[in-house]
Subunit: 413 residues, 2 copies
């Protein structure tokens, strides 16, 4: 790291906060006192309006409206309505996004559809370092389609070596969940198309973190989750995108009644509805949808390009501040190559994270040695970043992470 | 209908209520004033404790605990913990039930697993009159498994004619969602086993309506929903059952990270965890789980046999009361042959249901001509049933259902 810059002082950070056009958005969230939350890339914070919106669904729509709320409260339309609210953040023209199920289930659907759209090809490429559920689902899908197989690339950089004539689809994460590395969606999609394959993007670590442009990049399918940067709440429903040009021919095997052309005609044979709705399956998880709905109210006030600008400033700042600590930074320094997180290596990363959490700085640990910090411009300030870096320095300087209560592993990390 | 009995008076119903050992449970629910709710077989009523439990998850566990709640609030264990709470109601020894996803997604998983457990057999039998999503998912599963096909029986009574050597699995509803007819779980399962096939029960209209005995009946797999008689809320997570004897060999293709042996080791290869947990897929929908958790608090106070006794008394009473109206009753009169609903035929059933709803009597309509009333002993009284039957009589006597505002179809019925 030769490009050492002058490290900003806390006062300089306070000045940045005073000039931050997004600073007021912090008020849209309810965060606990004394917490510096750098884990919004794992579970986003609670939007201020979410408790009331959920309460309204529980007490009014469920308790009072009962079954009538399917019509009167618009429950039936929620997968599409929330999809429409998300679309501008994803660079998707209307009618291509629905909110439903989990990311894993949605990947099963779109990957199955992709294999059917390329019947002469049976190979699916994925990246060894992908978030594992993407690999497990790829394994699951290729395990049921006759002759299908998956090939795991050592890294996305090896894509060209494997883009042969048998490749039906490529599944990649836009941002690597560990390193924070960002791929070039347009360029990669184009290479995949040139090889005759279909491109499926996992944007779990992108949606709400930076502008995404599915349509412009000619993406075929995408999946993403509602509970990270989107702040939709724990286990929030996920979403999927199906490019309009594929919808008429796309068939997915999780063909439940919500994807039927006439779900309330109760016909015995499946006939998929026109459009992206054919990727719906069962009854939607409405309580989770209410929370996500409230979180989207916040996003309506936000210019995602401004979020990206601040995100890059926050991650730049954090890397500048922690560089003197000497921990290897695995996140790319180059702005165009990273998402909205910074990952550092430490052989005892688990214990360091636990020691930070006790200080109120919440990041997370990913085996074997990564300390991961997510930067969410809607509710993090420059001084928050400064204070977090200071705590990390103190944890390392004092060696307090060596205490036994930090090194003992919990059930879930 | 030759066995005309003396029809009880409202006073006699009030006496039955006064002697009803379950009467106090009505206080466990929040129901709107002026509503007689006979649609708990479609969406159960709001348990009194649900709003507070959901609020606690939103404000405390999510808002305050944030990512720490995966450990501290026990989020990680919820699919198994709720499954364990449900197990006694399903006659299932521990370790065979998990709460997750939707009924449709869960049927995809267990039917796929069943086909794999019978590799030499490729036929799946289902019933033409099943709730359509079961048929659509059966179509979806057989569409991806090489050589698999589904055969729709005209009715469950035709099962024996089709139980040939190619039948891998049979999917049936324990209670028919339209007629309310109840199948003999033990006898049907035994016939299916004698033919060498596996039995998958859909207990959407059974769980919480009457005692179910998966273990005693040697059931192989089952799925069911959380939002009907269980009162788990709109789009509540569903559940699935996998008999312990199948778990070691059962593999399902929706192999997401929550079903992995070590989900937080983030390994690239899928290795299913021991036990029913291998049927989990993605991150669980936690807000919905909180509501279901609260609904299970009520069930802990209830003897399901007493629920069944009252359910049969309520449905007997309703059938006695409406018999003089002359509408064909499609629900079996014989107690052992019905679940907890009563369905009547009327050529203008849609309009009749709308007219009843305006009077505060909420039942529902199923095309082409069924009026469906669900009877939920936890929050319905004998006088409620008497009053509902009286309203139905008045709607028919006055002919008010002929008014245009009732005959005009809404988006969702």
């Amino acid at each position: 790291m030769s490009d050492l810059r002058p490290v900003p002082t806390r006062e300089e950070c306070a000045a940045l906060d005073a000039a931050d056009p997004l600073a007021g958005l912090r008020e849209e969230f309810l965060l606990p006192e004394g917490v510096l939350y750098l884990d919004g890339n794992s579970l986003g914070a609670l939007p201020r309006r979410a408790p009331e919106r959920v309460r309204e669904m529980v007490e009014q729509e469920w308790g009072h409206g009962l079954i009538r709320s399917w019509n009167d409260a618009g429950w039936y339309g929620m997968p599409r309505r929330l999809g429409a609210r998300l679309s501008p953040m994803l660079g998707a023209a209307p009618g291509q996004v629905v909110v439903c199920d989990s990311t894993s289930v949605n990947l099963f659907k779109v990957l199955s559809a992709a294999l059917r759209l390329r019947p002469g090809r049976r190979t699916v490429l994925a990246e060894n370092a992908a978030f594992p559920t993407d690999l497990y689902i790829t394994e699951g899908v290729t395990g049921v389609f006759d002759g299908a197989r998956s090939v795991l690339l050592p890294s996305a950089a090896d894509l060209d070596d494997h883009l042969g004539e048998d490749v039906a689809a490529v599944v990649l994460s836009h941002v690597d969940y560990r390193t924070g590395e960002l791929l070039d969606m347009a360029a990669v999609t184009e290479r995949v198309h040139r090889a005759g394959a279909l491109m499926i993007w996992d944007v779990c670590h992108t949606a709400g973190a930076l502008p995404v442009e599915f349509d412009r990049c000619q993406v075929d399918f995408a999946v993403g989750c509602g509970y990270k940067y989107l702040n939709g709440g724990p286990g929030a429903p996920a979403f999927l995108y199906v490019a309009e040009r594929h919808q008429a021919d796309a068939r997915q095997p999780l063909s439940g009644w919500f994807g039927h052309a006439r779900p309330f005609a109760f016909e015995p044979g499946y006939e998929p509805v026109d459009g992206v709705g054919r990727f719906l399956t069962g009854t939607p998880p409405l309580l989770g949808m209410a929370a996500l709905d409230a979180s989207l109210d916040v996003w309506e006030k936000v210019d995602l390009q401004a979020v990206r600008t601040k995100s890059l400033a926050l991650t730049d700042l954090f890397m500048d501040l922690v560089e003197p600590l000497g921990l290897p930074v695995v996140t790319p320094r180059q702005q165009t190559l990273r998402g909205s997180q910074v990952a550092l290596r430490h052989p005892d990363g688990y214990a360091v994270v636990q020691a930070l959490i006790e200080r109120g700085v919440i990041g997370d640990f990913r085996a074997p040695d990564l300390i991961r910090f997510g930067f969410t411009p809607l509710y993090l300030s420059y001084t928050d970043v400064w204070d977090s870096a200071r705590h990390l320095a103190e944890v390392l300087e004092t060696g307090e992470w060596r205490e036994e209560r930090f090194t003992r592993r919990g059930a879930v990390t």
